[in-house]
Symmetry: C2
Subunit: 298 residues, 2 copies
């Protein structure tokens, strides 16, 4: 019997086979198309299952989600944004499988708890800073789910001093300021000629003034959001993954400066923010832990 893990990202799917130890192998990836989103996801799952009977599927999805209803509605997948019944669809595809579903941030926190920077800790925050900004919360030894499975939405903490409209419908969210896409958009508005967050980081390292300013803006906003979350949650370890978090000192130095300025409470004095050592597959690894039904480490 096969156990599968599925990661539904804003721009790509990943799926793989899960071993008894919760590790993932035979990983396949596919872009999320504009149309036929479920058909692409289904094809990827069938490719990974490769004809074997499927005992369990763990799904981590970009949010928001509605876990009690088994519905996902990622902001960045237009066809699914109003809600797609992912659990029912996977149930129908593999009728004998147990389907376990969580937001990607909770999967990330699980992965960091099992094999990353949160290992051995009872409290921490796992974040991804990429095309979007998301996260998952570990408190009192457990990954927090929240009422509808959406706990960890750190990307929608409102940050001073920016009043940027956000894809969520709100205004001033850190995701609308500090994600790779948001930072590149702002830089282009200032006259920068590049396209992606990765190009922005490259140009900043080469000394481009607009790119440096864009990363300073992003790092400052991230530091403010992290300071707010750490005060609210009483965590002292924050691990940040995702492609845009690879931008180096032009991003991390202003982030640390903002933390030093805002995180004044004595219980935050030892606050550590570090880069994730888990690679691209962290959410998939968390979905695998869900699928395998591994006991939570306490």
């Amino acid at each position: 019997m096969a156990v599968l893990a599925l990661d539904i990202g804003a721009t790509k799917f990943a799926a793989g086979r899960v071993g008894a130890d919760g590790r993932v192998s035979a990983v396949r990836r596919a872009p999320v198309p504009a149309d036929g989103v479920w058909e692409a996801c289904r094809a990827l799952l069938l490719e990974v299952a490769d004809g074997a009977p499927v005992a369990a599927v763990g799904i981590g999805s970009a949010g928001p989600v509605d876990v009690p209803a088994g519905v996902t509605g990622p902001l960045n997948i237009p066809q699914w944004r109003a809600g797609f019944p992912i659990v029912a669809a996977v149930d129908e595809l593999f009728p004998d499988a147990a389907v376990r579903f969580a937001i990607d941030g909770a999967c990330l926190a699980l992965a960091e708890q099992y094999s990353g920077a949160l290992r051995g800790l009872r409290n921490g925050l796992a974040m991804t800073v990429s095309s979007g900004i998301g996260g998952g919360i570990l408190v009192d030894g457990r990954v927090v789910l929240g009422r509808s499975g959406n706990a960890g939405h750190i990307g929608h903490i409102v940050v001073p001093e920016w009043d940027v409209p956000c894809a969520c419908g709100g205004v001033g969210c850190v995701e609308a300021v500090a994600s790779g896409i948001s930072s590149a958009r702002w830089a282009r508005e200032q006259g920068w000629r590049g396209g992606t967050g990765a190009e922005l980081a490259r140009d900043a390292r080469a000394g481009d003034q607009i790119a440096l300013a864009a990363l300073e803006r992003a790092g400052t906003a991230l530091g403010r959001a992290i300071s707010s979350a750490a005060a609210l949650l009483d965590v002292d370890t924050v691990v940040v993954g995702g492609g845009f978090a690879d931008s180096g000192e032009p991003l991390w130095a202003p982030m640390r400066a903002a933390l030093a300025r805002h995180a004044g409470l004595n219980f935050l004095r030892g606050l550590r923010v570090e880069q994730s050592r888990l690679a691209e597959g962290a959410t998939l690894r968390g979905a695998a832990i869900l699928a395998a039904g591994l006991p939570l480490p306490e």
Copy 2:
């Protein structure tokens, strides 16, 4: 055998006897003096114990705290700010008592969970808006404690657009903008002649333009902090108590407007923020629940 509850507030102590049902009676209050803080607290506890042997004491304290160390360090009690070993002191006073200690916000959340607006819910946020701003978090059926017992510090979420230095050492915290003390301070800087948050609310209701502006500023900041916390925690019920929360529509209307502007995520659409129906003794009631060792409702 007596069971006692103790509430350590920024400006006053409260203590009482706890019944088997967790209710508090024979409540006594005393101001927190500038010097001899423990002596005043000790005298109040002895008065409430009234010579009876003490089986348990539940303590809720203004924060920050260090629960694993049994130390409290309220920002607004100068003599204790660097840390006072409250658990050891109460242990010495009542050597046969079990001493249970938590931050006031966690006690507030417990009280709202047992007999207030969070009753029957598995997720919610309890806040107090008074001379300071604090809170407690209920997620996945449990009151969150955090690494050092300080979870729930919503007063130190950083809010746009104010860059006010905060007593915690940080900058821009909602407590430094929107508490009763902070709002009254700002109003006086604009030329208002009153003293307290209660007077500010009274003058706003009478149409004083500066007082109205002060409450609009406070309500807007509160709405932004609540929006950030609700997104991070995935809660849809927020209950707000404390004296300054009694300021009426001049505070609540801008708070609701800020929520409408910032809380855009679909899972926040039903977000309800309501005034606590628990009176002044809510923290003491939570400390009593701690002291009585009542099982958590699930």
